[in-house]
Symmetry: C2
Subunit: 333 residues, 2 copies
């Protein structure tokens, strides 16, 4: 059983308020009082109960961190950045795994029971309704890796997925391919839809080039591999823009399995530039998504919202860029 304020007060021979004040910064306490209380606290090994104080202050410093894809290694990087960034600001992440959860209300209720100060939805595949549900419940929310609507209802930090689609198309066109393909992530994810849109738009400028399209069931290795194995049975394209990196790696695995080689037989460009894509035995050409900036910006936004809950929603969009590696042929000079 932990030491309480009252015990410290008794030992120091002062009132409970005095103890409370020495532990709240900005409160008025004399130097003499402070040292006396701190001494007693140290001797007793006291540290204040954050949850009890939240009752009166209305602040728990708890932030819900909501995600749904625990099979995509990029989220390990995302969790690392979020946990450290939040910790550095004295906030604590309450991790929520929404795999298999379809009802936003459910998660809202759960996080509200814990009076989280805010919620970060970190996912490009969760429908916008989740972020909205939190907003409607009066909880500050940031949707990281979400879609930047033109009239955003919630704060969004991420990238312009339509533009990345165009970028990928241009990268493939630069190779002179005559048949390219879009192999997207799950159809209902806004990120997939936007990347698809941009890709198709850009390809419309090249009516002579054949374009095929398909979609994997998830942003995962297995889904990418399965879909590609299917495609390879038919008439595969020369170059593929894959939904994301982990999906790309699944695709690479399928290509290798069929005895084909990348980039000689088939070229691949992914999206994310996760750590693994840099590994020399993967060496994936991909579009860099600045996740560090996105996460840090999300955290800053969250912190700002804690002081200003009705802050006007904004979209923060970070530019991406192609990282040339080994899964597309070298560019002609």
């Amino acid at each position: 059983m932990p030491v309480t304020l009252k015990e410290v007060a008794e030992r120091a021979g002062v009132s409970r308020s005095a103890v409370s004040r020495t532990f709240t910064d900005g409160a008025s306490v004399s130097e003499k009082m402070r040292t006396k209380v701190e001494k007693a606290a140290r001797e007793l090994g006291y540290s204040p109960n954050a949850l009890a104080s939240s009752l009166t202050t209305g602040r728990t410093k708890l932030i819900g961190l909501v995600s749904n894809n625990f099979h995509n290694p990029i989220f390990l990087e995302v969790f690392d950045l979020f946990t450290r960034g939040l910790q550095d600001r004295g906030l604590r992440p309450l991790l929520v795994n929404l795999t298999d959860e379809r009802d936003p209300e459910n998660s809202v209720r759960m996080l509200r029971q814990y009076s989280v100060d805010g919620v970060v939805v970190a996912s490009s595949t969760l429908p916008p309704e989740f972020a909205l549900a939190f907003r409607d419940a009066g909880v500050p929310v940031v949707h990281s890796f979400g879609r930047a609507s033109s009239s955003p209802k919630v704060h969004v930090v991420g990238i312009d997925n339509v533009e990345t689609g165009r970028m990928a198309a241009r990268a493939l066109m630069a190779r002179g391919y005559k048949h390219v393909a879009f192999l997207g992530g799950p159809r209902d994810a806004t990120s997939t839809q936007d990347r698809h849109k941009g890709f198709v738009e850009e390809m419309a400028l090249h009516p002579d080039v054949r374009l095929t399209e398909s979609f994997a069931k998830a942003y995962s290795h297995e889904a990418g591999r399965k879909e590609m194995l299917r495609l390879l049975d038919d008439q595969p394209a020369e170059g593929y823009f894959c939904g994301d990196d982990v999906l790309s790696i699944g695709v690479l695995s399928a290509i290798k399995d069929k005895g084909l080689s990348c980039p000689d037989d088939i070229g691949i460009i992914g999206l994310n530039d996760m750590e693994m894509s840099r590994w020399e035995n993967i060496d994936l050409t991909t579009i860099h998504q600045p996740i560090k900036q996105i996460v840090n910006s999300s955290i800053e936004l969250m912190v700002a919202m804690l002081d200003e809950p009705d802050r006007y929603p904004e979209a923060r969009i970070f530019p991406c860029s192609v990282v040339e590696r080994g899964t597309l042929p070298e560019l002609p000079a």
Copy 2:
């Protein structure tokens, strides 16, 4: 601002206790009262404040999930299993990232401020002092993937790392190698020490076989790759037991880089059998660590401890087994 108990009580025209009771199971409430209160609660959109109730019950249902390696993909699997398993039991994981944290006291203080009901230390590299510090603070603790001491001070769930070392040695010996090597993880991790011990012990039975040893700085791709590149400049062994899977993959990358091939020039066996090792373009021969069982058992143990805090500490050890894949030559028939 959320609805409170009091408001529900007023609307239903009953006492606050009555409302409280309808939301605590096992409490005595008449059917009539229950429906009346539930109606009012529904209309107001009330859900009880878990933190406030924790004040009197002494239970927050918050579990600290402590880890320090966010660069090893296996931990994404571990987080997935933990978050889901805890959620299923009505518990909530408070994620703590201990990268760069050297002082156990610090993390203890932090988690105590949030009155977590228990702590799971999920790491094979954190020194036992961390788990001990929690225990000494009177917080139920399970060390998952920790070392099973003969006189355990805290609950440990994991594998017999010494035995895995022996296993790996036998697997390499079965290939008839005359020069094998141990390429461990960080020297100060108990898991590294134990795997090393077992490996050396088993190799002592083969005095004719040359044995070399080295250690990478972390269980990470980069560390494995760096160390292997260094080793390859000298006189490499024929077969390597690598600290874990992600390290193995780093090693594979180094091998490929030097124009060598695996398993023809050099054989590799890892440890963990993480999802990625099954990927066809990695196809790592490795020792399977039953992480699903370990995680679930850890959770069960934690749940048991919540009811029985002074439960006598036990070690739960799960057997491992070699998974034959593509990075060791096929076994002679």
